[in-house]
């Protein structure tokens, strides 16, 4: 048995796309077999290397497109006569060969123009389609479930007691409801974690979504009992997980899967297209909510009334509106509240438990954190590449205008010989459509490849960005629409020009005109438009590049080099919560003495991990500070923390071994904290009152440490308090270990540290991260946007330069006679260069001024994505204008120099 690639790769999408060429019935009958054959052949090609695979995929795809279209044309038609399909080739329909063949020949006769046009169109359409297919997957595609329009989601997240109340009433309120919580499950049996995306889901999960298992069964309410149903803990796995982990073996049902160290029985495999209710996240392992106490042990939150972790999804009854469902739910809110109000813990002032009505949201397109993060940037980049496509169209229009001018003689001759104008116009339109069709095909290929690449760039370790990029009717419509509107944009110009050609022109000797050039005006306008659009794109690229450099140059305040963090989870350990302080210290000490480790420290929060803990500082009090300004970040750290991170104590002392429970409660503040809360005097020895991982009370400041980034570089440096890890009364079942390596690679350190920690607590689950990678990942979005904007800005610049070059070269060609006369009359080479460049300069200046206004308008719409730079950043504008001037100058100088070398005698003789 051969193994298929685990992910839906670009090759898969390419295959699916080409398969669409065949009629639907054909696809249904033979699709699976063809896919199998394709993958088998691909596996053979793999043996001969990557280029053989690429060549095989492209060739087979094109053959499939051809055969599929032929099947559509002839397959069904020849069904009536036995044998006809076997040995007769039906003639292609006449309309397919008529004007198209002429148009094709005509395009082939000018290969350079054709190749440039198709390539720039392909790039433009490809970039647009790639981005559109991602946006489509994120925002437009409905969930691949039964009747997605009837799905609604309760706004927010809920506790399990609330869910159990709704579950008890689901048949009255809705046509079923379900709850789930996305999780990262650890599948390893000891030591380092083996993380996988999964979820806890209620028994009705699959039923409400209307999803059925490919093999085996899904779980139901019976399996969702506390501690497991009649079959014990069960798990449903995804198709990709089945393929990747189990090689797609057919006897996967009944096998054991260790989830969070608890053996669960695999009862079903979901179909390939099922990924769960959240776009961008594929649930590989789904277990019932009822098994949560087994997996989390003492940390179970099934009865916790303050842990908001479940997302609730419901299916409307037929004919029920969202408003009716919301009203029905609201009617039972008082009884839900009565049954689930928290009985323990503080009720902060002003907090009304379930005081607001439930809000129901349509959930046809599911839920997605990826969407929230990337929708706006992707829309902006889509606008950018839309502009690139416009520039490409302007370029092609220019090329075609020039080509039309060169073909005046051919066209007028054909008119003189009796061709109708309509017939000629048809041919010109056919040429444009062929060009844009070629561009669309190339664009689709680029898009299939490029969108996969983009998603790969978006994906991080914590967020694998599993989105369904298969080409659907929306993407195809978009591409076709882009191609047809492009064809109209650039194809109408030569047709309009043609109507002015008369048959008598063929009889005249053409080319005697000295300066006559009818299309010069149109071409200049097109070039100005190109310059303006590219200026806007270069400005946008500049702003994003400056944002990225500003973010990466934010001083971290610590030395991230050679630091490795390990998140250590001891949920499965029998040690009680009170014993965790000692356990954590033992683990830290074991790591510190492992080979290859220079230092090791423990902390509650890992810096720059995006997570954090903040608290309201109640003392010292200031009238001048708002509630927001009195918030401070908090971290609990072991005494070695500052040394490990290379941070500096500015005054006072660091923590030491005596700062334990029972000793005076102490705290270290950073400089920002001191600046905000003690602007006038030394804070050392002063007290701070706040909830610092312990019962609220007073803490004495014993030291001041330098500022360091806490959550992310974008949120920067803020007031932060550090408390001793050993004094913290809050002991969660996991903590962060930071290791300073002694110049040893991560793989070696993770092995020795895993061994060392395993000797202390074999049930601890470890996840290693290189801190530098985490710092880089925290700006991954900005890096992606900056990279894309720079690439397309550069492309726009190149296209604009090409356009300028084309126009200038063409006009120089037309003006050979004029230039020859000028030179014969004594104009020098420098004068000729100036003559040509003056015109180029005017085009650039007008374009830059228009583009400046365009950029001002465009950049003001992306303020929220910028950091450390204003939308009107002068440097970006000046840089963009300079870049265009240089590129345009170079594009104009080449033909200008050629003009200056015209031999006047020869030029005059020619004309």
């Amino acid at each position: 048995m051969s193994r298929q690639p685990v992910r839906t790769t670009a090759v898969d999408r390419w295959f699916a796309l080409c398969l669409r060429a065949y009629p639907k019935q054909f696809r249904q009958q033979f699709g699976a077999g063809m896919r199998d054959a394709f993958h088998q052949d691909l596996a053979h090609a793999r043996a001969s290397g990557a280029s053989a695979m690429l060549w095989f995929s492209v060739r087979t795809g094109l053959q499939m497109t051809r055969c599929g279209l032929a099947e559509r044309l002839t397959g069904s038609a020849s069904r009536q006569t036995a044998g006809a399909a076997l040995h007769e080739r039906q003639p292609m329909r006449a309309w397919l060969t008529f004007d198209w063949r002429d148009a094709f020949r005509s395009l082939r006769s000018t290969p350079v123009v054709t190749v440039i046009a198709v390539a720039s169109l392909g790039l433009g359409i490809g970039a647009n389609t790639a981005l559109f297919s991602i946006l489509n997957a994120l925002t437009l595609k409905t969930l691949p479930v039964r009747d997605p329009a009837a799905l609604v989601m309760l706004d927010g997240e809920f506790t399990n007691p609330i869910w159990e109340q709704i579950r008890g009433r689901q048949q009255d309120l809705f046509d079923g409801a379900c709850a789930w919580s996305a999780q990262r499950f650890n599948l390893s049996d000891h030591g380092e974690t083996d993380p996988v995306d999964g979820a806890y889901a209620s028994g009705g999960f699959f039923d409400v979504l209307g999803a059925h298992a490919l093999i085996g069964r899904t779980f139901s309410a019976v399996d969702d009992a506390r501690g497991g149903g009649p079959d014990g803990p069960v798990a449903v796995i995804s198709y990709a997980f089945w393929q990747g982990r189990f090689g797609g073996v057919s006897d996967v049902l009944g096998r054991r899967l260790l989830v969070e160290r608890v053996p669960a029985t695999i009862i079903g495999v979901m179909p390939r297209e099922f990924f769960g209710p959240e776009i961008g996240r594929r649930l590989d392992v789904i277990v019932p909510i009822g098994t949560e106490p087994l997996m989390r042990g003492s940390a179970s939150v099934l009865d916790a009334r303050l842990n908001w972790w479940l997302t609730i999804l419901a299916r409307l009854k037929p004919g029920q509106t969202i408003a009716q469902a919301a009203a029905a739910l609201d009617a039972v809110r008082p009884s839900i509240r009565a049954a689930t109000t928290p009985t323990v813990g503080p009720a902060p002032n002003g907090w009304q438990y379930l005081g607001e009505a439930f809000v129901l949201l349509p959930a046809a397109t599911g839920d997605s954190s990826l969407r929230t993060k990337y929708q706006q940037p992707l829309t902006i980049i889509l606008a950018v590449v839309g502009a690139v496509l416009l520039i490409a169209c302007a370029n092609i229009a220019n090329l075609l205008l020039a080509r039309a001018a060169a073909r005046r003689r051919e066209l007028s001759l054909r008119l003189a010989l009796g061709a109708s104008r309509a017939r000629l116009a048809r041919q010109l339109i056919a040429e444009s459509l062929l060009l844009s069709g070629g561009g669309a095909v190339l664009g689709l290929m680029l898009a299939v490849w490029g969108s996969g690449l983009l998603v790969h760039a978006i994906a991080t370790r914590a967020d694998p960005a599993a989105i369904d990029l298969s080409i659907d009717w929306r993407v195809l419509t978009f591409t076709a629409g882009a191609a047809i509107s492009a064809a109209m944009l650039f194809g109408l110009a030569p047709v309009a020009g043609m109507t002015r050609i008369g048959p008598q022109e063929a009889l005249k000797e053409l080319g005697r005109g000295v300066t006559g050039d009818r299309h010069a005006g149109a071409r200049n306008v097109l070039v100005v438009v190109q310059v303006a659009l590219s200026l806007a794109l270069v400005v946008v690229a500049g702003l994003f590049a400056r944002t990225f450099t500003a973010l990466t140059s934010v001083p971290l305040g610590f030395d991230s080099r050679s630091l490795v963090t390990a998140s250590i989870d001891v949920k499965q350990s029998p040690v009680s919560e009170a014993g965790r302080t000692d356990l954590y210290e033992q683990l830290r000490a074991a790591a510190a003495s492992a080979p290859g480790v220079a230092r090791a420290s423990a902390s509650m929060i890992t810096p720059v991990s995006g997570s954090g803990w903040n608290t309201l500082v109640e003392k010292p009090t200031f009238d001048g500070l708002t509630r927001q300004q009195r918030l401070s970040w908090v971290n609990a750290i072991s005494p070695e923390f500052f040394d490990t991170y290379g941070m500096h104590i500015r005054a006072g002392r660091a923590f030491n071994g005596q700062d334990r429970v029972g000793a005076p409660r102490v705290v270290i503040a950073n400089e920002s904290f001191v600046a905000r809360f003690f602007p006038n005097g030394s804070p050392l020895g002063q007290t701070v009152r706040a909830d610092l991982f312990a019962a609220p009370g007073d803490f004495q400041i014993v030291g001041i440490v330098n500022d360091a980034v806490y959550r992310s570089q974008r949120s920067g440096v803020s007031p932060t308090l550090y408390v001793p890890f050993a004094q913290s009364e809050h002991r969660p079942p996991s903590f962060a270990l930071t290791i300073q390596t002694a110049g040893v690679p991560l793989a070696a350190v993770s092995r020795t540290v895993t061994d060392a920690l395993g000797r202390v607590e074999p049930r601890a689950a470890l996840t290693f991260t290189v801190l530098d990678d985490q710092v880089k990942a925290s700006v991954s979005r900005e890096r992606l946007i900056a990279g894309l904007a720079a690439f397309f800005g550069g492309l726009a610049l190149l296209l604009a330069a090409l356009g300028l070059y084309g126009v200038t070269a063409y006009s120089v060609g037309r003006r050979r006679a004029e230039i020859g006369i000028r030179m014969a009359l004594g104009a020098g080479a420098g004068g000729v260069v100036r003559l040509v460049l003056r015109r180029v300069a005017w085009l650039i200046v007008i374009g830059v001024v228009l583009g400046g206004f365009l950029s001002l308008w465009a950049s003001s719409s992306m303020t929220t994505l910028l950091f450390g730079v204003t939308p009107r950043d002068p440097l970006s504008f000046v840089f963009a204008a300079a870049a265009l001037a240089v590129a345009g100058g170079a594009a104009g100088w080449l033909p200008a120099r050629r003009a200056s070398r015209i031999d006047p005698l020869e030029a005059l003789r020619e004309s």
Partner: protein, 111 residues
């Protein structure tokens, strides 16, 4: 004279003489036997197969139990398909018999 089969269609029918097979197995057998001719492509192979099914020369079977679902359907030669193969064999045999009388060509004829 019997039905004149395209070489690819003939190879597909021949590959099924040995027994039922799924698509890729037929393709592999046909390719191996027709090594000297133009290789059979996936794209056109399935068109030929579709045509043969329409003609009633090949039948699609339900997938046998225990077979990987990714393989797609299984195919079997129908009695009609077998008859066409036999007819094709007779036709070719007659053709070969006619050609027996052919003398070795002389090179003089070519200019």
């Amino acid at each position: 004279m019997g039905v004149l089969l395209k070489p690819a269609a003939l190879q597909i029918l021949l590959a099924l003489v040995d027994g039922d097979a799924h698509g890729y197995a037929i393709l592999k057998t046909a390719r191996a036997r027709a090594a000297d001719q133009a290789p059979l492509r996936i794209a056109s192979f399935y068109r030929h197969l579709a045509a043969l099914i329409r003609e009633g020369l090949v039948a699609e079977l339900a997938r046998p139990a225990g077979v990987d679902p990714r393989r797609g359907a299984y195919y079997r030669l129908t009695p009609a398909g077998r008859a066409v193969l036999v007819a094709e064999r007779e036709r070719m045999a007659a053709l070969v018999a006619q050609m027996r009388s052919l003398r070795p060509s002389s090179r003089k004829g070519t200019s």
